[in-house]
């Protein structure tokens, strides 16, 4: 029994450790004060107003949505294609290739950022939406690859062989069998890609111009210029959006999985 209590306490402390920063910032989103600090004099939604109506913040939100959507599409398509390619047993450098795809996860973002800036400048893509989307895609692809590879590994190869033998050309096998079965993984990958793009700051600092300022980037600079509680409001928005997306994914995944693998009755 004491062991049980100790375990429980430890778990609670760990959770607290993880969410303490959130608990610290979130109430400040509803402060009426003009500075980002406790104590809160009275509750107000004025910083949400600021967020949606001040030009800089509104543009940042829109930019984040544009770049996030672009990154999600590009990273999901490329990452899924990469995962499919990595599945080929005859592929000689499969192991090293997979590591290569996961590299952006571990390479310091600053290093990537410098390289990206040099490269994109050469192609005239610096300070453009396309440039930022490309940069974000590079760091988002590993998440898609990991997630889709996992989903593909769960597919019995014989199911695809059976589809072939029943008269389905390779493209049809992919469309009717492989993709639907890998869908939960593709979906998670897409969400992770969107989330990655949403909170990416370092690469954005290197490649984005003033017109591509994302929400994360805007928070980063405004915390240096003026410590306005709008940052807390933006953080609240971030977290709310993340939880919402997470819920959508969990729900749709469980729906997909119920369709493919219902519990034995």
């Amino acid at each position: 029994m004491p062991m049980k209590i100790a375990k429980l306490t430890f778990a609670l402390l760990t959770i607290l450790f993880l969410v303490a920063p959130l608990i610290a910032i979130l109430p400040l989103a509803f402060t009426s004060s003009v500075i980002l600090t406790y104590p809160i004099p009275s509750w107000s939604l004025r910083w949400f107003e600021e967020l949606f109506f001040a030009d800089a913040w509104r543009r940042a939100i829109i930019n984040s949505l544009i770049i996030g959507t672009g990154t999600t599409l590009l990273a999901t398509v490329l990452g899924t294609a990469a995962s499919l390619g990595l599945r080929n047993r005859l592929f000689f450098f499969r192991g090293s290739m997979r590591t290569l795809f996961l590299l952006p996860m571990v390479v310091p973002a600053v290093v990537l950022g410098v390289g990206m800036q040099v490269l994109l400048a050469r192609f005239g893509l610096i300070n453009s939406y396309a440039g930022v989307i490309i940069a974000h895609t590079v760091v988002a692809i590993p998440f898609v690859v990991v997630s889709v590879t996992g989903a593909l590994a769960g597919i019995d190869e014989r199911v695809e062989l059976a589809a072939q033998s029943l008269g389905a050309a390779p493209v049809t096998v992919f469309r009717r069998v492989t993709l639907p079965l890998a869908m939960p993984g593709v979906l998670s990958g897409a969400v992770l890609a969107f989330a990655t793009s949403l909170d990416e700051v370092v690469l954005t600092l290197f490649v984005a111009g003033p017109n591509q300022r994302t929400l994360a980037r805007q928070m980063f600079s405004s915390i240096r210029e003026n410590i306005s509680p709008a940052i807390a409001a933006a953080a609240f928005l971030f977290i709310a959006a993340t939880i919402l997306i997470g819920l959508v994914v969990v729900l749709s995944r469980s729906m997909l999985e119920r369709r493919t693998r219902p519990a034995a009755s």
Binding site: R158, V159, A163, Q164, S165, L166, G167, P170, R261
Partner: protein, 355 residues
Amino acid sequence: MAEFIKFDRITKFYGPLCVVENLDLSIAKGEFVSLLGPSGSGKTTLLMMLAGFEQATSGKILLDGAAINDVPTHKRDMGVVFQSYALFPHMTVGENIAFPLQMRGIDKAETAARVKQALDMVQLSTLADRRPSQLSGGQQQRVALARALVFEPRVVLMDEPLGALDKQLREQMQLDIRELHRRLGLTIVFVTHDQSEALTMSDRVAVFNKGKIEQIGTPRQVYDEPATRFVAEFIGETNLVEGVVEAIEGREATVRLPNGAQIVSAVSDGVAAGQGVYLSIRPERIDLAEARGAARNVLETEVTDSVYQGDHLRVQLQNEAYPLIAKLGRRSREFAPGTKVFAAFSAGDCRVIAP
């Protein structure tokens, strides 16, 4: 016999490993042929090459006279049934069976009719809207069977389709598949490592060992007239006794055993007098008696053990040179260990096998 499927000098390497070696095999239209062998003998690889999942390293595969080596799987028109069922988990039973018909552009009304007919055939009409994972193993395999037959393929390939089922269900499915084969006139190539399954179901059995066919023939031929030691041991149980051929007269050979006993045995071509050979004696063909009878072959032995096994009595025998096993009908009397007995069998009940 018309050749419908023909493997012409097929060789298959996986890297340096030769899994099928210079293999010839012809299968007639409407025939049920089993590829029987231990795992790693090349039987599944051969089936996978016929389905188009694997490419032969050399040699030709002909279907109805035309080489199909370069025809992709989806154009081969062969129904494949896997041991793992390989149903589409995201489709209902009905959608699974409709899949090959949709691939062939068959209209909705006819598809629906044929799916229903196929479900009736495997007695699953009520389960069309279930997902595969809601079915038992046996039901799933029936769906897989219906899916492989519904588009009337030219050949049906089965890769150990009953291996995952329990014994009773397996035996029922064996009879069901045999019945379908007869009723629909299907050409079936069936891979199995279970010899009794192969004997039960097939018109002909091809016994595989190390990438080669050791023997091909009717179930009766491969059981009663094993051509090699491997076939004799792999199919059923047998007593193998070493000996030397003394004389050959027509289809019979006289063989001298190490303890001096002389046995007259059936023999096939390719064995010469003076040659060291194996004698294969099926345990159920041996009779035991305490007095020397009138049988042509009689061996003096002693009972070492006797086990009652329900449908037969299994008696272990030993003499100075070799052990023997006899399976006696359940009406037989018991033999106590230590009893001196005479093991008797006719010339047709044993067989000379070249080593």
